[in-house]
Amino acid sequence: MTASPAPRGLSFSGVGVSYDSPRGPVPALADVTLAIDPGEFVAVVGPSGCGKSTLLKLAAGLMAPSSGTVTVGSEPVTGPGADRGVIFQDYAIFPWLTVEENIGFGLTLAANRIGAREREALVAHYVDRMGLTEFRRALPKTLSGGMRQRVALARAYVVRPGILLMDEPFGALDSQTRLAMHDLLLGVLRQEGTAGLLITHSVEEALYLASRVVVLSARPGRIKAVIDVPFGHERDHALLASPELARLKGTITALVMDEYRRQTALDRRPAAA
């Protein structure tokens, strides 16, 4: 598995999800059709509770859709797999393993096993790339949020997934660390041509990282808008001050806020009834 994987896209077609509840099925996502091309970076924004994270779980194979299909390349997703890396909201790095052991974890599994020497070299490479050399033998409990985040990124990345799925991974970081992580992430993804699907609350973050921003509607989440981001591959922080970004941010924020108000109204209704 050390060779780069064949670039494969991810697509949702007519995907719907509903949860069972005592009062019958509650729809969470409805009729989502979206294709992420190989190497493309797509960000999804929308009000809380609109089903953003559900979308990511479907792609990861941690959940099955109630209707429609999710496919990677040409194969339907039937479960989790090393071809789709996931960075979880709370990182989920293994607390009983050191930084090195966490990063190398995927490479010791039967699905991606490589020789010990090759593994050590690859782990050392990512430890260095993430600036964790000094902490390579440290346990997660001693790491800062930013360092845990970098361990999680390296752990997901070391098995060379074709696409990286990220569920609000930067939410808990301070703003400087977040900016640094954005650049690290973009650098790593570009290097291998890995695609990205990012769930985020931050419209600015979405615009800075993605080539397309998807706005989900209030529950049940549907695709309300898809905005092409007209910035090229090379992005730096000067972009954050550009009028173009400010304009797009305004447009998208207005869309999200519309849905936020609808969502809030929805959330109130059952209590009033």
Binding site: A60, L62, A82, D90, P95
Partner: protein, 288 residues
């Protein structure tokens, strides 16, 4: 292992374990080392001294018949005598052996059972009520049956202790395993782990703290059941010592037996806590 002495508590729970209990002493110079150690010892010993003091005061007050409440020196003399003639060491050895046998067997059964119960709703549905039924039975109630089926040898005593250890540990392990969040398992699955790999590489490490707690709880229960187990025709053992002394109304020996059980259990628990600190140094928790 208490750290009330006001020094950085992490010194005690470092993965390196035993060698490091008091590094601050070196850092602050040799002179302060002794007071620090002495202070720590005083803090650890103070409740024991208080109990002994109260006991001595009660015995010396003249309010109680000395036959009913022997003074500490009388019990101490009894201890010295029984250590001298080898009876106390033999009793401690016999009882510790039984407790360990029961603990090892009980925990060996409880760990797989607890993991199954904690992981599988089906197993919990079928076996949960059974567990509740047997768990409520005091081991002493089983003794007549145990004698019928296992006779009056060592096996019978170990069966009673195994029973006690199993039911104490299985609850702790199953509840603990049931509370393991799916987060880490999901993370491993997205890296390509098979079901077996998830179990061995993620569930087992996360179950270990609960297994160790289960062992500690079972250790307490097993010692508590010892006297009952040694009702099955034991000649030697701390429980047997107490029973024989009871027949002769020999209260100093009863006290000696009780103190012997408590002290031995305390020593074993201290060992287990050390093991805990070693194996679970990764846990981000309040230093013990």
């Amino acid at each position: 292992m208490t750290t009330l002495a006001g020094r950085p508590a992490d010194a005690v729970r470092h993965p390196g374990g035993p060698a490091i209990p008091v590094p601050p002493a070196e850092a602050t110079g040799g002179l302060t080392a002794l007071p620090l150690l002495a202070r720590r010892a005083a803090i650890i010993l103070s409740p024991w001294i208080a109990i002994a003091g109260l006991w001595a005061a009660a015995a010396g007050s003249g309010l109680f018949d000395p036959v009913l409440l022997p003074a500490p020196p009388v019990v101490l003399a009894q201890a010295v005598q029984q250590i001298g003639d080898g009876r106390l060491p033999a009793a401690v050895a016999a009882s510790t052996g039984r407790v360990l046998a029961g603990l090892v067997l009980g925990v060996a059964l409880a760990v797989p059972a607890g993991i199954l119960l904690g992981r599988s709703r089906g197993v919990r549905l079928v076996a949960g009520p059974l567990l509740g039924f047997f768990r409520a039975l005091p081991p002493i109630a089983l003794i007549p049956l145990v004698i019928v089926y296992f006779g009056i040898g060592e096996a019978a005593k170990v069966v009673v202790l195994t029973f006690a250890a199993f039911f104490a540990a299985v609850i702790v392990v199953s509840e603990g395993v049931a509370q393991i969040p799916p987060l880490y398992e999901n993370a491993a699955r997205t890296l390509g782990a098979t079901r077996f790999e998830v179990f061995r590489r993620v569930v087992l490490p996360l179950a270990l703290p609960h297994i160790l707690t289960g062992i500690r709880v079972a250790l307490g229960t097993t010692w508590a059941t010892l006297v009952a187990a040694e009702l099955v025709a034991a000649q030697v053992g701390l429980g047997a010592t107490i029973q024989v002394a009871a027949a002769f109304f020999d209260l100093p020996v009863i006290y000696l037996g009780i103190i012997g059980i408590g002290a031995t259990a305390l020593a074993m628990d201290a060992g287990l806590r050390r093991l805990n600190a070693r194996l679970l140094s990764w846990q981000d928790r309040r230093p013990a």
